[in-house]
Every structure is written in structure tokens, then in C-alpha cells.
């Protein structure tokens, strides 16, 4: 690798959990490159390892889970950081928001405390400045009557407002990278839209990169510049969102795209991917997707395809990706 000092560069990230049936690799050799200001979508079904990837980046995986690999942020190695340096990084330069604000916000602390403790950890603002900034943050994320609501508790907010609160807390110290773990999944569709717009605005305002984990391809299409598709702990395809949507090269990506309803078209059956994702402790030999794949051959059952570039900015982990792409063009 050339010495890139900007953005986030991940090589060979693994997260392993011991289970009674042997070690389970929830994340298995993930490579990612996130440029400054970029919005990156990480897509996959439940259990594909996308959320664990985010937690592993922040070194938030609970023991006995193990994380290995190389994570460089602005040229510094996150995995080798001492606790104090890591602490300053978390929430200061890299922030994270979670899927379910009801469980991610501390139920017994007023919102003000939860914002101000972030400022206290990362800035040398005094009490009065922290108060003013907390108020400003609630304003930025669009919470009406912010001054009054600062002293309220999470249970007094609606779902959408609660997610705004969490975003305000995460962004308190103006991070340069936001890791967002399905932040709109738990919300109504209309509220989802508002939160996504808010995140895009904030990306511009704070000029930060965003890694957006989701299973919602619609969200990826409207929000992200580039994307990666995960299956069974590995990335199976990457590229710009427009290219991947136009010609998916991995059969799994193709299946995911086929299961999204297209507005305006005449009524047809939604395509679905047959079968279920494999258990991590008992991955099939060869390509993990082969039992569900219509393109699978003996080669797929024997050997695991590596993620390899096939065009500028595009990579795929499939022996038959050209056949897959052609099939898409014919369809």
C-alpha cells in the first residue's frame, strides 16, 4: 500500500468470536478505503457482519471477541493505539451512531448531560460554553424548542427526535468520520427521509466522511457515493453506487437489487434470494454464497474467490462475474 495519510484505510479486518461450535468469523478480511468527504454505503443482510465491521473499526467489540487487521485513520494505526489516544479518537475524530436510539441513549441521564460529556471529553470548553454548544447542536439537528428539551430524558422524545438527539451527541465534537449503523432502520419512512437529509447536510457542514451501514438499497442509492456489498463476513463487491446499480457483477448483489421494488413498472413478483445466509460457525466450503447461487459451478464449491479488481474502482469476488453482468444486461 502507498502511504495514504488521508481518510480511513482498512486492510484485512477480522473479528472472531468463540462459540461452542468453534470460532466464528463475523468479519473476515475486510478491506475498505474511505476518502475525506465521501459517503460510503456498506450493504448486506442481517448477520452479514456489517455492524460488527463498524464496531471493530472503533475497537468496540466485546471480549472474548477478537479483532485483527490494519486500520489506518489519517495515517495513524487505530489498532495499535494506546487507550488514551484511542479514547481521544473515539467521539473526537471518529463518531458512531447506532440503530436504535432508545437503547443507545442512557435512559437515566438528561439529554444535556449526554451531549456535554462528549464536549467535556474532547474540548476544553468551560461550563457556559458547553451549555451554549449543546443548545446549538440540538438546533442544528432540528429539534424544536431546544432550550426546553435539553433537560428532558430520552423517553420523553419521539423516535425521530431521539435519533436526532443521538446524532447531536455524536457530532458534538465535530468528528471527521461518522460511522452510522442503520440509523434509520427503526424509524417511519417519512422520518427516515428527514434523518437522511439531515445527515447529508451535516456531512457538508462538518465536511466529514460517512460510512453508512444499511440493508436498505434505496438509502444507498439516494445517499452514498460508493458502496460495498457484504456477505458472510466478506466484501463481495465494491464500486460507485451508480455503476454497481447499473451492472452488478456479483450474483448476490444482483439478487439484492432484484428484491427492491421499482416504482412505475408494471406489477411483477419481487425477486428474492432463495435460502438463508449461512451460520458463521459452519460456512460452506468454497464461495460462501454458492448454495444460493444460480451461477454456481464445481469451482465455486471447491475454491473461495478472492475480491479482485476488474475495472477501475470496481472489485468483485466471483469466478463468473462476467456471466453475471451479461445476464443482467439481457434481463
Amino acid at each position: 500500500m502507498s502511504a495514504k495519510t488521508d481518510g480511513l484505510h482498512v486492510r484485512g479486518l477480522c473479528a472472531t468470536f468463540e462459540t461452542p461450535r468453534g470460532p466464528a468469523r463475523a468479519v473476515d478480511g475486510v478491506d475498505l478505503d474511505i476518502a475525506p468527504g465521501e459517503v460510503f454505503g456498506l450493504v448486506g443482510e442481517s448477520g452479514s457482519g456489517k455492524s460488527v465491521t463498524l464496531r471493530a473499526l472503533m475497537r468496540l467489540v466485546h471480549p472474548p471477541g477478537r479483532v485483527e487487521g490494519n486500520v489506518a485513520w489519517q495515517g495513524r494505526d487505530l489498532m495499535a493505539m494506546k487507550p488514551e489516544e484511542l479514547r481521544r479518537m473515539r467521539g473526537g475524530e471518529i463518531a458512531m451512531i447506532f440503530q436504535e436510539p432508545m437503547t443507545a441513549l442512557n435512559p437515566v441521564l438528561p439529554v444535556r448531560v449526554q451531549i456535554e460529556e462528549n464536549l467535556r471529553a474532547h474540548t476544553d470548553m468551560n461550563r457556559r460554553e458547553r451549555r451554549a454548544r449543546a443548545l446549538e447542536l440540538l438546533d442544528i439537528v432540528g429539534i424544536p424548542a431546544a432550550a426546553r428539551r435539553l433537560d428532558e430524558y430520552p423517553h420523553q422524545f419521539s423516535g425521530g427526535m431521539r435519533q436526532r438527539v443521538m446524532i447531536a451527541i455524536a457530532l458534538a465534537s465535530s468528528p471527521k468520520l461518522l460511522l452510522a449503523d442503520e440509523p434509520t432502520t427503526a424509524l417511519d419512512v417519512t422520518i427516515q427521509d428527514q434523518i437522511l437529509k439531515l445527515l447529508l447536510d451535516l456531512r457538508d457542514e462538518f465536511s466529514m466522511s460517512v460510512v453508512f451501514v444499511t440493508h436498505d438499497l434505496g438509502v444507498v442509492a439516494s445517499l452514498c457515493d460508493r458502496m460495498a456489498v457484504m456477505y458472510a463476513g466478506r466484501i463481495v463487491e465494491t464500486g460507485t453506487v451508480s455503476e454497481v446499480f447499473a451492472t452488478p457483477h456479483h450474483p448476490y448483489t444482483r439478487g439484492l437489487l432484484g428484491s427492491v421494488p421499482h416504482g412505475g413498472a408494471e406489477r411483477t413478483m419481487l425477486a428474492s434470494i432463495e435460502g438463508t445466509p449461512p451460520g458463521l460457525a459452519s460456512l460452506p466450503a468454497g464461495c460462501a454464497f454458492h448454495p444460493r447461487c444460480e451461477f454456481a459451478t464445481d469451482e465455486c464449491r471447491r475454491e473461495r474467490p478472492a475480491l479482485e479488481p476488474f475495472a477501475p474502482g470496481r472489485s468483485v469476488a466471483c469466478f463468473h462475474h462476467e456471466r453475471v453482468a451479461r445476464a443482467e444486461e439481457l434481463a
Partner: protein
Amino acid sequence: MSFASFIFRRVLQMIPTIVFILVVTFVLVRLLPGDPASAILGDRARDADVARINARLGLDQPIFVQFLYFVRNVFTGDLGNSISLKVPVARLIAERLPVTLLLTAMAAVIALVMAVPLAFVSALRRGRASDVVVRGAFQVGLSMPVFYVGLVLLIVFSANLHWFPVGGYGDGFFAHLYHLFLPALTLALSLSAILMRNLRAAVIGVVGAEYVDFARAKGLRSRLVLTRHVLRNALISTVALFGLQIGVLLSGAVVTETVFAIPGAGRLMIDSIYGRDYPVIQGLTIALAVVVSLIFLATDIVQAWLDPRVAR
């Protein structure tokens, strides 16, 4: 604001509780075998004398009238005179109850000091040697009866090592603390074992909560994560248990006070029951019941303060 109105409502709730306590103590004493007149006069009393005593004590009145007199007297601080000691019950209680309360308070503090840090160590190093040792030790503490623990402590620290007095209460506040240390420790052992187990389980639950991960992701110092985010949430259930256990502790004091010869309310209660000293039994029961309901009140207030969802 809503916290203040919660406290107000909670205090109002005490009124029916107190009325209930008064009814129950009044009825209970009248259900006890034997009657006061023959207790005062002895078994061979003549009927005329019994009638005279009953009239003097108001025991010839209808039961409902007796109850109203009783309530009036309680609220004016007149709990009657002890039959055997011939002194006002209120004065007896004022002398003896503070001893028991101090003993209970010391036991509670010792139990907390032991349970809270060890619960944390045990929960955070779950499954490792320190966890196993801590839990094993508390298991032993929990399974031994109070009177036995008390006797062992007495033999080791008082009779053999002479570090602590064998019994009694001493003169002056610090002498009280010194005299009450071993009995308080005796009471604290089983309480701390209960608290430790409960808090350990709560900490293990809270440490895995997403808001703790979020707190870490915010870059808070781990001590702040543990105190503000983990401890506070974990304490909510333990505080409720603690309040309930204080009630148990007060009754446990009866045994401890006997073993350590402490002139507290527990001893007074036992002596009065043997002597059928109804006014004392009644007065003490009311006093202890009021103390317990005040402790529950305090528990609820602390819980509402810890968890704003309680006080809505």
C-alpha cells in the same frame, strides 16, 4: 418539578399505610393469649380486682371506642406505660430504638462498602479467579445463620484477640460505634452477599447495553463510563432490594442484640413478648412499622432520583 410532585404523592400514600399499621397492631395485641389484668395481678386474682383494672385501663369499653382512644394516644405520643417496667412506653422506645437504628445503619453501610466494589470486580472480571473467589466467599457468608456468625466473631475478635468488647453499648457516640462494630458486621455479612449477587447480575446486564457502547464510542474515560453509565443504571434494581432488606435487617437485629447483649429495641421486644407487656409490644410494633415505611419512602425517592422513568 415532576420529581417534587412525585415525592408529594408518595408521602400522601403513607397515610393509608399508617392507618393500616395502627389497625393491625391494635387487633394483633388483642388476639394474643392471656389478658393484661391477669398479667398485672397474677393468676390468682379475684374477679372484682380484674374488673377494676379493666375499667382503669379502659378495657371495658367497646372495641371501637378503645381503638379511637388508642389512635388519639398514639398521635399525642402517649403509648401508655410498660406493665412490667412501670415507665412510659414512649420513653422506653426513645431509649432503645436509636440503638437498633444505629446498629442497622452501621450494618447497611458496611454491607454497601463491601458489596458495591466487589460486585464490580466480580462482574467485570466475570469467570476469572477473582470473580470465583468473591462469589465463593459471599456464598459462605450468605449460607451461615446470623447467630452462628455472631458467635464466631465474638470468640475470635473479642474473647481471643480482645480487639472488640464482648457486648454492651458503651457511653458516647464513638464508644457506641466501637461496641456495635462486630454486631453490625454480623448483620452486614448476609446483607452484603445478597446485594453483591444482585448488583453483580445488574452490572453484567448493563455493561452489555448499547448505551454503554455508545458512551465508549463517545470517547469517555472508562471510569466515567463505569460510574455514570454502568453503576447508576445497575443500582436501580439494587436500591429497591436494599430497601426491602433493611426491613429484614431490623428483625435480624433481634437475634444480634441477644447474642451481643445490646440494649436495643430487638431485646426490648423479646422481653416484652415474654412478659406480655402489651403496651410495649404495641408501641414498638408501631415505631418499627413507621421506621420501615419511612425507609421504603426513602428507597422510592432514591429510585426515582436514579431513574427518571419511575417518577412520571
